[in-house]
């Protein structure tokens, strides 16, 4: 006997269905909810979707590659600014031109910054991403002729999709962002579950070993860095459309730290975790803005402390355990693997 042959796990159609249930449930929730609530809640849900994309992009380099970035809002900001400038200054109305161009621009900036940031690791990676983020912020403030400085760019229209006779309303835009979120989710999921994605997790856990196995770990990290930047750029672009204005603060340290918080709240080891984090933080911000707007930063700080001291692993992992308990309680599926 030469060893144990590894057979792919065969799942019956019933098990397949159980595995898909959370997705069907989540999708139903996300599609039905915006239809049932008033407009002001719809805009809040749109914001959740935008930040879900942003947080998922950070999780690719943080949770899956082990690189803690304190300047991820730089790419969010580049995506938002490039889109806003193309539309308001150069009058490129069509989304099919301005959208891909801003995504391309974000990718190029991420490629340039990645070369600098990935020269170093650990604490220094954190510091250099913080400084690079700060650099983008200062460019946004100082390059007044292009970015309107600290006034911000105003009057960014909702994307022109080129459909005849189509006019936007809050519900349509909410579904548009949801559609983009679903596409990003699927793309990132495919990346994470590909050989490339597993190599990234190998780099996170055992970089020297991966190097011994012949992987060019630097290249893997670099590509992950660029992909994460691109998805953050998509989120930034959607955010500029959502708000209609884009401001240097949207590319500042505060934005970078809020998205870190979303990921840690949801859980870095769960693929869907950042979405949970985005929901929690956007909801919290909404309620804080109703009852104690001036104390929001303090509440946010308290959430950081609580998340670190008491919520190890994030909410996501508790949800998965709860789900397993529900399923295994019926005795139908054993060892339902977290998705």
């Amino acid at each position: 006997m030469g060893g144990i042959a590894l057979e792919p796990i065969k799942r019956s159609s019933q098990e397949q269905l159980v595995r898909l249930l959370p997705y069907i449930f989540g999708l139903l929730l996300f599609t039905m909810f915006p239809l049932l609530v008033p407009t002001y809640l719809q805009t809040m849900i749109t914001k959740v979707f935008v930040f879900a994309i942003f947080a998922m992009s950070l999780n690719l380099i943080w949770g899956y590659t082990g690189l803690t970035s304190l300047g991820h809002a730089a790419y969010f900001g580049i995506g938002g600014y490039v889109y806003a400038i193309l539309v308001t200054r150069y009058g490129i109305e069509s989304f099919w031109v301005s959208g891909p161009l801003s995504i391309l621009a974000t990718g190029l900036v991420a490629a340039a910054f990645g070369i600098v940031a990935l020269r170093v690791t650990g604490v220094y990676f954190l510091l250099v991403t913080l400084a690079l983020g700060r650099l983008v912020y200062y460019v946004a403030v100082k390059w007044r002729s292009m970015t309107q400085g600290s006034d911000g760019i105003i009057g960014i229209a909702l994307p022109n999709l080129g459909l005849p006779g189509f006019t936007w309303n809050a519900t349509y835009f909410c579904f548009f962002v949801l559609f983009v979120l679903i596409i990003c989710y699927i793309l990132l999921y495919l990346i994470v579950k590909s050989p490339f994605g597993y190599a990234l997790q190998g780099v996170r856990d055992q970089e020297p070993r991966m190097r011994c196995l012949g992987y060019n770990t630097w290249l893997y990290k670099y590509i992950a860095f660029i992909i994460a930047g691109i998805f953050a750029g998509i989120a930034g672009m959607l955010f500029s459309q959502y708000l209609g204005v884009f401001h240097p603060d949207h590319t500042g340290v505060a934005m970078s730290t809020v998205v870190l918080l979303m990921v840690i709240i949801g859980g870095t080891r769960m693929f869907f975790g950042p979405i949970i984090g985005a929901i929690v933080i956007v909801l919290l911000e909404y309620f804080a803005s109703l009852y104690m707007p001036a104390r929001w930063p303090m509440l946010l700080g308290a959430v950081f402390v609580i998340a670190v001291m008491f919520l190890r692993g994030g909410i996501g992992i508790h949800l998965v355990r709860l789900w397993e308990k529900v399923i295994n309680g019926y005795g139908s599926v054993k060892g339902c693997v977290p998705l």
Partner: protein
């Protein structure tokens, strides 16, 4: 020529403030491996408490002392209550201390409002010195003197005393130091409190030189980070050199290229990290 001398002196005096600020940050990072992002907030707290004491009619020296002691106590509480539980967990330290920065900023905003605050120099230092026909505030010369005294004191403490030897040994081989029976809990708590004290002290003596506002901690922190990256963590002389270099670049940048002054220190940081990530005088970091 005298204008250049003024700019250089401004840079040196700002560099001395940066030295005191960064020394605390460098000690906690070098010895304990803790990335304490609240350090900028300690600077701010020290400054605002000094401002309050001076405003209430207190002596300037009392103000400086109370500002730095308050910051030291806050640091001690943070270390005992939170950071002690998350040694060696860099991500958690970053998130926790970031959260605390938000809290400090908001408390200061709550108490003092959104305006910048400054104090006057104490009466015994409110003179000006004539340098080539231009006047230079005597207070800044005083800050340079205080910085030099602190440098000698810290250098003596770290390089020449038993406590300093324990601290340096802890940086190089933490487990071995503990194995030799050194009470590392006590040393860690004391070093962290000393670091926060230095942050508060630099803030309190900085109040006559710059405007203090609730939103400053991250900006201040970045200066400390860059000084430590340039000088190398854990080295007293390295921190002094790094602080003077950054103080000078900052002052000259603001004087000659005001439009680009915000970028200069970041560009220095990026160049340093690319070509000499251990810093000019750096001990290697684990």
């Amino acid at each position: 020529m005298s204008l250049m001398a003024i700019h250089l002196l401004n840079g040196i005096s700002f560099g001395m403030i940066l030295f005191l600020l960064s020394m605390g940050f460098s000690l906690t990072l070098g010895l304990m491996g803790i990335l304490n992002l609240t350090h900028g907030a300690m600077f701010m707290v020290g400054g605002f408490i000094g401002y309050t004491v001076v405003g209430a009619g207190g002596n300037f020296l009392v103000a400086v002392l109370s500002g730095s002691i308050a910051a030291g106590l806050i640091g001690l509480v943070i270390e005992r209550l939170f950071l002690r539980r998350i040694y060696n967990r860099l991500d958690d330290q970053v998130l926790l201390t970031l959260g605390l920065v938000y809290i400090f900023e908001n408390v200061i905003l709550w108490i003092y409002g959104g305006h910048g605050r400054m104090t006057n120099p104490p009466p015994f230092m409110a003179f000006t010195v004539d340098i080539g026909g231009r006047s230079f505030p005597g207070y800044r010369l005083g800050v340079i003197a205080v910085g030099l005294i602190a440098f000698i004191g810290l250098w003596w403490l770290i390089d020449r005393t038993r406590i300093g030897a324990i601290v340096r040994a802890g940086m190089d081989d933490n487990e071995m130091t503990r194995g030799l029976g050194i009470n590392h809990e006590l040393i860690y708590g004391a070093v962290f409190a000393l670091g926060a004290f230095a942050g508060g002290f630099s803030g309190a003596i900085g109040t006559p030189m710059m405007s203090f506002i609730f939103s400053m901690p991250m900006e201040v922190l970045l200066y400390a980070l860059i000084v430590v990256v340039v000088g190398g963590p854990g080295s007293v002389l390295g921190t002094l050199i790094g602080a003077l270099v950054i103080g000078m670049i900052d002052a000259l940048g603001k004087a000659f290229i005001p439009d680009l002054a915000s970028f200069t220190i970041y560009i220095v940081l990026i160049i340093m990290l690319l070509f000499r990530p251990t810093g000019l005088m750096g001990r290697t970091m684990a």
